[in-house]
Symmetry: C2
Subunit: 195 residues, 2 copies
C-alpha cells in the first residue's frame, strides 16, 4: 500500500545466499522431522537436523504454522486444484465431492499430528487454520453447491463445517488399527445424501 513498484524487477533486492540455503535446508529438515516425529516435533530437533541455530528457524518461519504451511503448500494446492477437475470428470457432483474428500483425507492421515494441529485453538496455529480454510473452503463450497443443484445432497451443510468435521475425523489416524477415519468420513458423506 505504501509504494507501488511500477518497474518489473523484484522490489525485494534478493536475499543473501546463505539465507536462501538455510531456508531450503530448514524446509527439508522440517519435512523429514514431520515424517518421523509429527508436526509437533520440538523446534530444536529441526534446527539440529538442518544444522542451524534455533534463531534461524524463527527468522525464516516466525510461527510453527508458517513452517508447516511452507512444507505442505504444494500438496494443499494440488488438492485445491483437483476439486474443479474432479467436478468436470466425474459422473455426478456427489461422486466428485466424495472423491475430493478422499483426497483430503489421504493427505491428512499421512501427516502425523497435522489434523490435530488444524483444530488447535493455539494462536500459533492461526496461520495454518487460515491457509487451509482460504484455500479449501471455496473448493468444497463449489462441490457442495453442484451436488445440491443436482439434488443429490441436503442443502443445509456448509463447507466450513464439513471440512472441520472431516479434519477432526482424521485425528489419531494410524494410532489404532481399529480406528479407520476413511470409513467414518464415507459414512458422513453418505449421511449428506438426500433420501
Amino acid at each position: 500500500m505504501a509504494d507501488i513498484d511500477s518497474g518489473s524487477e523484484q522490489p525485494v533486492p534478493r536475499k543473501r545466499a546463505d539465507a536462501r540455503r538455510n531456508e531450503r535446508a530448514l524446509l527439508d529438515a522440517a519435512a523429514a522431522a514431520f515424517v518421523t516425529s509429527g508436526v509437533d516435533v520440538p523446534v530444536r530437533d529441526i534446527a539440529v537436523r538442518a544444522g542451524v541455530g534455533v534463531g534461524t528457524i524463527y527468522r525464516h518461519f516466525p510461527t510453527r504454522a508458517d513452517l508447516i504451511v511452507a512444507v505442505y503448500r504444494h500438496q494443499i494446492e494440488a488438492c485445491a486444484e483437483a476439486g474443479p477437475a474432479l467436478l468436470a470428470d466425474s459422473d455426478t457432483p456427489h461422486a466428485a465431492l466424495a472423491q475430493w474428500i478422499d483426497l483430503f483425507v489421504d493427505f491428512l492421515v499421512t501427516k502425523h499430528g497435522l489434523a490435530a494441529a488444524l483444530q488447535s485453538d493455539d494462536a500459533a496455529f492461526q496461520t495454518l487454520h487460515a491457509y487451509f480454510l482460504d484455500r479449501l473452503v471455496p473448493v468444497c463450497d463449489q462441490l457442495l453447491d453442484a451436488a445440491v443443484a443436482a439434488d443429490e445432497i441436503r442443502p443445509d451443510m456448509d463447507a466450513y463445517g464439513l471440512l472441520r468435521g472431516v479434519g477432526n475425523l482424521c485425528i489419531g489416524a494410524g494410532s489404532d488399527p481399529r480406528y479407520d477415519p476413511r470409513r467414518l468420513v464415507d459414512l458422513l458423506v453418505a449421511g449428506l445424501r438426500v433420501r
Copy 2:
C-alpha cells in the same frame, strides 16, 4: 487377584483426615478449574485453587487422567447406565442409539478440551482412554447390535470406531459458531442406516 478380602470391613485401614480433606478439595478445585480453563489447566493452578502444594496433587492423582476420571466419573457412569434404559424405552433400537449418542455428545461438548484429551496419544492419558472405552464401548456395542438385529443399520460398524469418531467430532466444539458437532454426529448416525 492377589488376595480376596473375605471379611466385610475395609482392608485399607482408612486414610488420614487431612488426606481425605485434601482429596475432596482437589476434586472441587479441579472441577472448577476444568470449567474455566479446560482440562489442560496447569497443575499449579489447580493446586492454588485447592490450597495445596503440587506434590499433593500427584500423591492423590498420579496422572492428569486419574484426576479427570475422578471428576467426571459420575457423569460417565450415568451415560453408560442410560444405554440399556434408552433401549428399553425407545420405539426402535436406532432411536435409542441416536439418543444415547446425543447424551455422549452433550457430555463431551460441555467439557472444554476433554474430547481432544481423549484422542491424545500422550501416555499420561492412557487411563482416561481406557476408562472411557471400558465403560462405554460395551454399552454402544449393545445398542449397535440391537439396531443391526432390527435391520436398521449396516452391520459393519464397530462400537470402538464409532465412539472415537463421535469423540473426534466433538473436538473444538464452541470454538466457532459455524462448527456444530451435533449436526455432524447426526449425519454420521444417519449414514449408518440401511438404505
